[in-house]
Symmetry: C2
Subunit: 184 residues, 2 copies
């Protein structure tokens, strides 16, 4: 099965409550460009991330709003921010890192909010008969084998292999490239 | 005379006409945080900069809208973008570089739009009796002499020494620091 690569940079997901704190009451995110998963978009708005050690402005938000607030950073951000976020599935935030998110109207410091996204493949439920949710698979990219990739099954997913930017750079993987997923 | 340092990162100024192309008809910029010059603000909105060689997302816009569109980049962007913008006063765009600015609703490729901002000091007209506009001065920062700094006089200026980020890093100058300006 051929799967298209989507390289993901650091980004933030917000609940409506947290969005209200950062941008004002009943704030609505403005789509900037749509992403490979249906309905998901990068927004015109950005936030600043801050830790006791450092800050980074103009970090993208991915909308629409979610039922949890989550900051996904990169391996190289560990030293920059002086934090140690775990490599995780999206939404698995227990025991993850603390980070401060700053918007034009307010800021929030959130424990258990910051992870590094693991390698994962989104598969639509209709195409996922041979897979179990959170099954670990491998893919081939040119002559390279990539392991430890989590399967994510959902009714609204489009087929895509997501790998974070640092992981992609380290392995010379290009956004929009094709990997081969084989069910062993 | 003590002058506060303002370190400037890459950013874009837009005319209302260009803002309309990038963000939609009659678009109004949303202030994100105010800057050291009265009425000037970084906006919630960002743009993407693009050349044949490379692109950079989430570049800040500085509002309010101006009567010229101008992209200010850094020395290190020359290699990144594969362009050769001159070091200039803001607004002095003749013969400067071409760059593409991309927003959520459209894009513009503009000749004579891209410079590297020179070192300059903003002085309010009421305090500028001993200076001429565009006079070249030097300042002292700790034990370092910095030369070739352009005086900018305006009725709405606050006293500030602006130096771009690459120049500041190279000379170990911190945002918010103090330089001493002496009229020789």
């Amino acid at each position: 099965m051929e799967v298209k690569v989507g390289v993901t940079n650091r980004h933030v997901h917000l609940t409506q409550d947290d969005l209200n704190i950062l941008f004002g009451d009943n704030y609505e995110l403005t789509p900037r460009n749509y992403l490979d998963q249906p309905g998901q978009f990068a927004t015109v708005e950005t936030v600043t991330l801050k830790t006791p050690k450092n800050m980074k402005e103009y970090v993208r938000i991915v909308g629409p709003v979610r039922n949890y607030t989550q900051v996904e950073v990169l391996e190289s951000d560990k030293e920059y921010f002086g934090i140690n976020p775990p490599v995780r599935n999206s939404g698995n935030l227990e025991g993850s890192e603390t980070i401060t998110i700053i918007g034009p109207k307010g800021e929030i410091t959130k424990e258990n909010s910051c992870i590094i996204a693991n390698r994962h493949i989104h598969i639509n439920t209709r195409d996922a008969k041979n897979f179990k949710d959170d099954e670990i698979v491998s893919v081939k990219y040119n002559n390279l084998m990539l392991n430890n990739i989590h399967i994510k099954i959902g009714d609204n997913y489009a087929l895509a292999f997501h790998i974070n930017k640092d992981d992609a750079i380290k392995n010379n993987i290009e956004n929009g490239g094709i990997v081969i997923l084989r069910k062993e």
